[in-house]
Symmetry: D2
Subunit: 141 residues, 4 copies
């Protein structure tokens, strides 16, 4: 059994909207925070802006909403990651307690500060070899 990387944070009041739940666009901020936490945990922040001049730009993203999240809910974001040729793909499952509230997917390419595509940093490719990927991890994919 693999240890899934996860990131946790409370839903902020500013994350909510007039439906009383987290606004759908803010799930992408949860994903971004989880992605950066993963880079921190795997010692990869050094290959990314601001330490490096390169960024992992977002080409595509999608989110499936299963259950609402409310102010002060503790959201746990689990993620998995793999490389696909020049692209990096992340998948996310979000939980409140044991309940699956959302799933998401983001696709990235490395760009330099002029927004031109660059090669992957060797450290990122090395890390990719250590990561496991489960095809059927998302219930919606």
């Amino acid at each position: 059994m693999s240890k899934q990387f996860f990131y946790e944070r409370y839903v902020a009041f500013s994350d909510t909207d007039a439906m009383g739940v987290v606004h759908h666009a803010n799930y992408l901020r949860f994903c971004e925070e989880a992605r950066v936490a993963w880079m921190r945990a795997t010692n990869l922040t050094k290959i990314h802006y601001p330490v490096s001049e390169n960024v992992l730009a977002v080409l595509h993203h999608q989110v499936w909403h299963l259950k609402p999240a409310r102010f002060e809910d503790l959201v746990r974001v689990e993620l998995q990651v793999r490389s696909q040729r020049l692209k990096i793909q992340f998948q996310y499952v979000m939980f409140i307690g044991t309940e699956r509230i959302a799933e998401a997917e983001t696709l990235h390419i490395p760009l330099n500060k002029n927004l031109r595509p660059v090669r992957h940093a060797p450290e990122l490719l090395n890390q990719m070899e250590k990561e496991s990927w489960t095809e059927t991890w998302l219930s919606n994919s």
Copy 2:
């Protein structure tokens, strides 16, 4: 030739991030603003919160990023919409001038204030019959 509904607005400084471009999550706000502008133009705001107690909640959303957008760019969002049984699907193409910068898709269901599914308002179903849909409108779908 059909008249595509569109919504236009300038990129705000607060929409940008440290890459100097619009943060990816903010494209969903552009889509939402376009959707609401469409409801205003088709006289459908009356079936939605706050006039009604119901909302068109977001079940799924995805965005494809083609070109970056910067502060003060004038973004034009075109949209098409159709009903799929109990769901409403919107597709969006975003332009700066004549350049296609992003495409997006959102899927909705009507919920009441307790977040329970409800039937579509008759006015929405009537409007759906007037809307045209082009299967191949998005280049990525």
Copy 3:
């Protein structure tokens, strides 16, 4: 009677929070949008990023909340502006219809792309001479 500059826009759903009203931090986005609209109207966007490399950075801001604003309210932001030595001060009064819902104030200095202070552009100083200022315009000041 002076012609006060104003900027109008609808409250977006993403502007609201779980109280059902516009989240307090978003009033600063309304002010920023009004400020940029004023720069556009006075032909000053050319002295600001991205046309120029300089920005009008925010040193201080404050907002007084008088009445709530809700989704789909049309908010009108009036502003006045003056220079104070090296600083530029804006004041804002926000209305829904004829009702005053908020007042705000922001203080700015011009910075270059390395975030170093620079002199004001002559075009900005010229414009400042045309602007009128009413000391008692804000009810809270």
Copy 4:
């Protein structure tokens, strides 16, 4: 010497703008998160939405910006709080390392779900008696 309450979090990429620094409006989200963390630490979340129907609505807020903050900076928010008759006043000092980057102040009143003023919860008043306040804590006040 009193133990100042503090809250820490990394600057997210979505917090930044095209100047490469945290957008000024986002400091209010840092303050809100610190305020909620303080309520959690003092066992006061029970007097606030969503456990209670009441909220501590924001009447006024201001922020003084001293130094910029960038993506991945660890921001430490210290706060102090006191009651002023029917209002609650918070002050915040924000640090990166030992460097003071911003100061802020927010003023609140308790409102019920219909946005009508209500009395302070006894638990909040009890907590206020335990809090210390330093008049000269903010360098700008």
